[in-house]
């Protein structure tokens, strides 16, 4: 598509297998990365994408197979030697050097990477400044990495990898958690980097991005390569749709690049209209933050009984902070929270749970060493009514039959989607009147996300109000009655979900259309 590769193989991986215990996370994958191309890699969670990158970059040693970089065998090389040869990467979960400044973070790449030997410390710091300009982080140069927002951290990681002067960059979900506008910016940045002569290997769940920038796409599933080709070829393959995309996204993917918005309809379960107009949660002029840093200013919000409300906004806008403040994991500084007529502004977290507000946190946060059933039972920690607990367990199993099959498995062994189901189940077990769901789809394959969104609607139809925070703004609004827009800690807009979907400002800001 854009800057195509010249075809010379840069990195050649043959028969890469990585076993953990008996399980093959990667099973004899052959993959060639050509000089100058952007190779996109997609696949459901647990497909082995990150493990594959770990094998190439030396963080994991492959069980078998060979890796050649520019013809040289690097299979058994330690990471740092691989790094010095000119291969660098970012991490799926950002790993900044937290206590150092942005400049020093990037300078590390410049002083130790492929051309580190040629630079002194001060030259490396100059080089860092240059790279930071390129990724647009120059205004944060003297801040500690700890002070950056997620999207800034993603750029910082990219800058650090770039500063190593690597010829080949592995980018592991650099766009996860970015909103649509940011994604457009990130795509542009990656193209620019690629044009500068850097070969890119991009793992991404954001289909729009992968379709938009990749010269070629590889699909991994269960540790095996199931498809390879141009983006369009791959999307058209039925097994890819079945394994990964799901019907809805398959269709959406085709939309990419077209300027007008295409309404996606049909199989979606739309939210039913709320039953009552009675207010359940009332938040007035709430402010909060962490330590010295304020995050939320004067936020007001209302949720009525039986309603699904979507909360949207850019990364770092304070969505998770708002949820955590409602759960009292973060203490409010001013303002009030009232729930079903009770003032909960100064309540402790367990009182919030008792009152009927339950948060399903970002990243699931299951108790990995407890079984699925124990996780669900932990959800009823505050309840003592044994018989009803049994009934509730039955009804959660009925709603989420997967969980019943896995009841005695450790939660840590579940796939991403199953984990999210377990987290939802755990939340439901305490019979919440209001469910706060944070980033339902984060890190999940589109097919799974579809299923979970349907579940939310069904939970709602049983009478539970839902506050849904979701990076996929469109999906969230399509499943909500009303929506709120949070921008840098302030509530800037609210209204019926359909209106927000059609609001041109929202579409521009968050849907990138």
């Amino acid at each position: 598509m854009n800057g195509a590769g010249n075809g010379t193989p840069l990195l050649d991986a043959r028969g890469i297998t990585k076993r953990f215990g008996g399980l093959a996370a990667v099973a004899s994958v052959d993959l060639t990365i050509r000089e100058g191309e952007i190779l996109g890699v997609i696949g459901p969670n647990g497909a082995g994408k990150t493990t594959f990158v770990n094998c190439i970059t030396g963080l994991d040693k492959p069980t078998s197979g060979t890796i050649r970089f520019r013809g040289k065998d690097i299979t058994r090389m330690p990471s740092h030697a691989i790094g010095r040869l000119g291969i660098s990467r970012t991490f799926q979960v950002v790993r900044p050097l937290t206590h150092l400044t942005v400049r020093d973070n990037v300078a590390m790449g410049a002083m130790f990477g492929a051309r580190g030997k040629e630079r002194t410390v001060s030259q490396a710091r100059d080089r860092a400044e240059e790279v930071l300009h390129r990724v647009g982080l120059e205004h944060r140069i003297d801040h500690a990495a700890a002070d950056l927002t997620i999207s800034e951290l993603k750029r910082l990681e990219l800058a650090r990898a770039l500063a190593t002067d690597a010829a080949l960059l592995f980018l592991d979900e650099v766009m996860a958690g970015l909103n649509s506008t940011e994604i457009v910016g990130a795509m542009e940045l990656l193209r620019r980097i690629n044009r500068g002569g850097v070969t890119l290997f991009v793992i991404e769940h954001v289909m729009k991005a992968i379709m938009g920038i990749s010269d070629r796409v590889v699909v991994l599933h269960d540790g095996k390569k199931i498809a390879e080709g141009t983006p369009q070829e791959v999307v058209d393959r039925p097994e890819v749709a079945a394994a990964y995309l799901g019907e809805r996204f398959a269709r959406r993917a085709q939309v990419v690049g077209k300027p007008e918005r295409v309404k996606v309809q049909g199989t979606l379960v739309k939210a039913a209209p709320p039953v009552v107009e009675e207010p359940l949660l009332e938040v007035r002029a709430l402010s909060s933050g962490y330590g010295e840093v304020p995050v939320l200013w004067d936020v007001s919000l209302e949720i009525r009984k039986g309603e699904v409300v979507a909360l949207v906004g850019a990364n770092g806008a304070g969505k998770t902070t708002l949820l955590c403040t409602l759960s009292q994991l973060v203490k409010p500084r001013s303002g009030s929270i009232s729930f079903a007529g009770r003032d909960l502004t100064r309540a402790r977290p367990e009182e919030i749970v008792r009152a009927g507000i339950v948060q399903v946190p970002q990243g699931r946060r299951l108790f990995a060493g407890l079984t699925v059933k124990e996780n669900l039972l932990q959800g009823v920690y505050l309840r003592r009514d044994r018989r009803q607990i049994e009934e509730d367990l039955e009804s959660v199993f009925e709603l989420l039959p997967r969980l019943e099959e896995r009841a005695n498995q450790l939660a840590g062994r579940l796939s991403g989607g199953e984990q999210q189901m377990c987290a939802l189940g755990r939340g439901l077990m305490s019979r919440p009147r209001l469910l706060l769901i944070d980033e339902l789809s984060l890190g999940l394959a589109p097919l799974v996300v579809d299923h979970l969104l349907d579940l939310i609607s069904r939970i709602n139809q049983r009478g539970t109000a839902v506050l849904l925070v979701e990076q996929d703004v469109q999906a969230a609004l399509e499943h909500a009655h009303r929506g709120y827009v949070l921008e840098t800690g302030r509530m800037v807009q609210s209204g019926p979900a359909a209106e927000l979907l059609d609001d041109p400002r929202i579409r521009r800001a968050y849907l990138g259309m």
Partner: protein
């Protein structure tokens, strides 16, 4: 500029100390300097590289024995060359031990190093032919307390200069990168094993110098007196009091710790470990980032910030659990 003047004044004062105080007081100052030296060494591995080493006392002991045995050997090596040889031997041993042990992380590294120190203590007790076992060895007597003071002072000043230079070098940057995130550091091309072993070996050399000085001053070297966990704890406490991962933290912390413990000990004869325990607890709870951090905050106040009890309580608030 003001800083340079201040440093010169402090150095001049330190050089004059021996003519101003009694030999005993000088002795406590020498002890403080030796502690500072150990703490400076620990700071490289524990502070900059972020590895909670709990066995650095092994190198104090090895330094003491090497210095002593060389001086007693048939070559009668003079003290200063013996001290340098001891530093070298310790550094070499640290390299050999470090390669496997530095693969460990967190608590596991801590206990493994603790174990190494214990093992060395026992070897020193049991290896009669070399170390004269539990009886220990006796060094030649030298009763010039100024000599020990100046040697220790020179090494501490050298330690400050070395630390300051390393902090701005690639080695120092690499250590900090390892402390912050080892995998990320590796991916940037840092050979973490080499960097960590370098930090460990250097810290061992510092500890060995301190051990050698103490050995020569105390005349007698026995396993239980040198391979004891108190030294490890003292160097860590000194670092914590001063501030880990800073150039000035360890010497400042060592001075404060020595002052405190001398004071406590002479005023609370039977309860001094209790009082010292309470002091450690107070420092850890209220000033976990050390005095250097406090000084920085105070400097910020001088430039127009505000200052209140919340300087201390902020630390509590940051690390307590509601």
């Amino acid at each position: 500029m003001a800083r340079a003047v201040l440093l010169a004044v402090v150095l001049a004062a330190l050089l004059l100390v021996p003519s101003l105080v009694s030999p005993y007081t000088l002795l406590t100052y020498t002890s403080a300097l030796c502690l500072a030296l150990m703490a400076q060494g620990w700071n490289l591995i524990g502070g900059y590289t972020g590895y909670a080493a709990f066995g650095n006392v092994a190198f104090v002991g090895i330094g003491a024995y090497t210095t002593g045995l060389l001086m007693l050997s048939r070559w009668h090596v003079p003290f200063v060359p013996a001290l340098f040889a001891a530093a070298l031997v310790s550094a070499l041993l640290a390299t050999v031990i470090g390669i496997p042990v530095l693969r460990l992380k967190g608590h596991y590294f801590a206990i493994a190093t603790l174990g190494v120190a214990e093992a060395f203590r026992e070897i020193a007790s049991a290896w009669d032919d070399l170390t004269n076992g539990a009886t220990g060895i006796d060094l030649p007597v030298r009763s010039d307390s100024r000599f020990f003071y100046y040697v220790a002072l020179a090494l501490v000043v050298g330690g400050i200069v070395i630390t300051a230079r390393l902090e701005r070098s690639k080695l120092g940057y690499g250590w900090v990168a390892i402390r912050e995130d080892q995998d990320a550091a590796r991916m940037l091309g840092i050979d973490t094993t080499v960097f960590k072993v370098a930090a460990f070996a250097l810290s061992a050399a510092f500890a060995a110098c301190a051990g050698g000085i103490i050995a020569y001053q105390d005349i007698h070297v026995a396993p239980d007196d040198f391979f004891k966990i108190e030294y490890t704890l003292q160097m860590i406490i000194a670092c914590i009091i001063g501030g880990t991962g800073t150039v000035w933290g360890p010497p400042v912390g060592a001075a404060v710790y020595q002052l405190l413990s001398t004071y406590v000990w002479s005023h609370f004869l039977e309860l001094h470990p209790t009082v010292l325990g309470v002091l450690i607890i107070l420092f850890v709870v209220f000033l976990p980032r050390g005095l250097m951090d406090l000084f920085r905050r105070m400097a910020a106040v001088a430039r127009g910030g505000r200052f209140g009890s919340d300087v201390f309580l902020a630390n509590v608030r940051a690390s307590r659990l509601e």
